[in-house]
């Protein structure tokens, strides 16, 4: 078990299994199929991301360095939240990027019944340590426990 202190981008607590990518998470490429064609597990459809391709993201603690790709990324994340197909939380090893931040903040401000806590700046050691299916707990102060 290890703990990592991050910075809260959008508040909340969560407990969920991890799904991990060490590459940038291309939000549009990953989630567009899930949003368009009714995949409630929101499995990753980005064929360039061999580590994550085909794995479910909805309800999981998505552990990543940052998001990349189209500037529709934030909007796609917002829609995933509105459709209840969002990750349980998003945990960034780096400083969050502008697209993911937009999606998380839009969901936090404009959607009433959605919780997707986002914590960033967890450091490279976090991504080196965490593996798929490890249990992640986030407390209200941005402390992330991995076990």
């Amino acid at each position: 078990m290890k703990q990592f202190q991050g910075r809260i981008v959008t508040p909340g607590t969560a407990k969920a299994k991890a799904v991990v990518t060490h590459e940038g998470f291309n939000t549009l490429a990953s989630l567009q199929k899930a949003l368009q064609f009714g995949d409630k597990t929101a499995s990753c459809n980005d064929q360039n991301n061999q580590e994550l391709y085909g794995k479910p993201t909805a309800g999981y603690a998505l552990c990543l360095p940052q998001t990349i790709g189209s500037t529709t990324g934030g909007l796609v994340l917002y829609c995933a939240c509105a459709m209840h197909r969002q990750p349980a939380c998003m945990l960034f090893s780096n400083h969050i990027d502008s697209l993911a931040a937009a999606g998380a903040i839009l969901a936090d401000v404009w959607l009433d019944d959605i919780s997707m806590p986002v914590v960033d700046c967890l450091g490279d050691e976090f991504l080196d340590y965490v593996r798929d299916d490890m249990m992640i707990t986030i407390d209200e102060n941005g402390l992330v426990t991995v076990e």
């Binding site: 949003l35 500037t71 934030g74 509105a82 937009a102 999606g103 903040i105």
Partner: protein, 424 residues
């Protein structure tokens, strides 16, 4: 973040609950990136990324309705990314049915919302809004709230405007209140380069391949590129701007580049030279072997690698008027050399509606039509974003299209051979 009295009043609800939420969104966005203040937008027009009336984007339409009902519309008129459907583009019956009745069934409704929110005009649908014919070309130093990665990187790098890589919806929020948080590429410090990229190729590098290599290496960082002026010259003429349009789109989609500097060519590099480079910047050398390595490592995602291409898309980002003319000459020459009269693969050249109108006035339009090439305003990416088209063997020289879809990348020369002579 320090807010002015006007901004604080909006946040406190002086202009209603919806405007307060718009301001709260921007304040949270700015605080996430350490912004200390908001700055006023100065560009004449905004540019928004979400142009497609996808049925699945119901939450977006609900939000737009909320904004319209509250009168929280854009203070600037805006252009949009390209439309997702065009009857001119080849599609079978099933594809057409799915596009119109299933995927993009909300297109007309959404365009109605956009008109209420501040759409420039009914033809303002293109990712290359900065082309002269379109009329959304910011000035150096303008503060923007744009989205569309290829447009943002062009505005920052080639035009010297200042814009962060904003997301869809966030782009609109800025022009509703008329302010954006000052951070990142809006600051002098954020525009400094943390990479020096040295171009040491033996010939002019393919724009979209070079952009891909740099994007994948530097990700969201700012590169200062040395040695490209050898191939592009030191003036931002039409040829250089066209090259940089395609190059930038690849840096932004294969990575997350929002700004690049090219020594002796782009405005800030000309003014400030290598003082733009931070101490301890990382170095990346690109030679012929590196470009080959990058291209060889693109994943092969066609089920049958030897399938005969069913469609070719050129113009992601949209082509300029000069590109349409140049490619007309090239296709004619290629057909002549191959002994063919018309292209052997259905081929679509995409460009902004305003550029296509100008093109139609030239003698090139009839010549291109005679080769069998179709011109369209469509967004190839949106065309490809469904399981039916994803199974089609589509070829392109767009590294952006390759990144987001199953389209297979070839260089411009290779594409020319494929569409005029054939081959796999």
């Amino acid at each position: 973040m320090r807010l002015t009295q006007e901004q604080q009043a909006i946040l406190d609800g002086a202009k209603g609950e919806t405007m307060a939420k718009v301001m709260k969104t921007l304040v949270m966005y700015g605080e996430t990136f350490g912004a200390e203040e908001m700055v006023a937008l100065t560009g004449e027009h905004n540019h928004l990324v979400t142009s497609f009336g996808l049925k699945a984007l119901g939450p977006v339409y609900d939000l737009m309705d909320q904004l319209i009902e509250a009168g929280a519309v854009s203070g600037q008129t805006f252009s949009m990314d390209p439309r997702p459907i065009d009857p001119k583009v080849p599609a079978n019956f099933l594809q057409k049915f799915i596009f119109k009745k299933f995927m993009y069934s909300r297109q007309d409704f959404y365009e109605g919302q956009l008109e209420k929110l501040g759409l420039m005009d009914k033809d303002a649908f293109t990712c290359a809004c900065y082309l002269d014919q379109v009329g959304n070309k910011p000035k150096k130093g303008d503060i923007l709230s744009w989205a569309e990665s290829s447009a943002v990187v062009y505005a920052n790098s080639v035009l010297g405007a200042r814009c962060n890589r904003n997301s869809g919806i966030m782009d609109l929020m800025g022009s509703i209140v008329g302010f954006v948080p000052k951070f990142g590429l809006l600051t002098d410090e954020g525009r400094k380069a943390t990479w020096v990229v040295k171009i040491e190729t033996t010939k002019k590098p393919e724009a979209q391949l070079l952009g891909s290599a740099i994007g994948m290496k530097v990700m969201e960082d700012v590169p200062y590129i040395v040695g490209l002026d050898k191939w592009l010259g030191t003036e931002l003429d039409e040829a250089a701007c066209t090259y940089l349009k395609d190059f930038g789109a690849a840096t932004a989609s294969n990575g997350a580049v929002g700004l690049y500097h090219i020594a002796n060519l782009t405005p800030e590099a000309k003014e400030l030279g290598d003082s733009l480079v931070v101490e301890g910047a990382k170095e990346y050398i690109i030679d012929d072997a590196e470009l080959k390595r990058v291209m060889d490592n693109y994943p092969m995602i066609w089920k049958d690698a030897n399938a005969t291409p069913k469609l070719c898309f050129m113009g992601c980002p949209h082509m300029s008027l000069q590109q349409l003319k140049d490619w007309t000459d090239r296709v004619e020459e290629g057909l002549k050399a191959a002994g063919n009269k018309r292209v052997v693969i259905p081929t679509v050249f995409t460009a902004p509606p305003a550029v296509l109108k100008e093109f139609e006035k030239t003698e090139y339009a009839a010549r291109l039509k005679a080769t069998g090439v179709i011109t369209s305003y469509i967004c190839p990416l949106m065309y490809m974003n469904n399981p039916l088209c994803a199974k089609m063997p589509v070829i392109t020289s767009s590294n952006k299209l390759r990144t987001y879809t199953t389209a297979r990348y070839y260089t411009d020369d290779e594409i020319l051979v494929q569409i005029t002579k054939g081959g796999k």
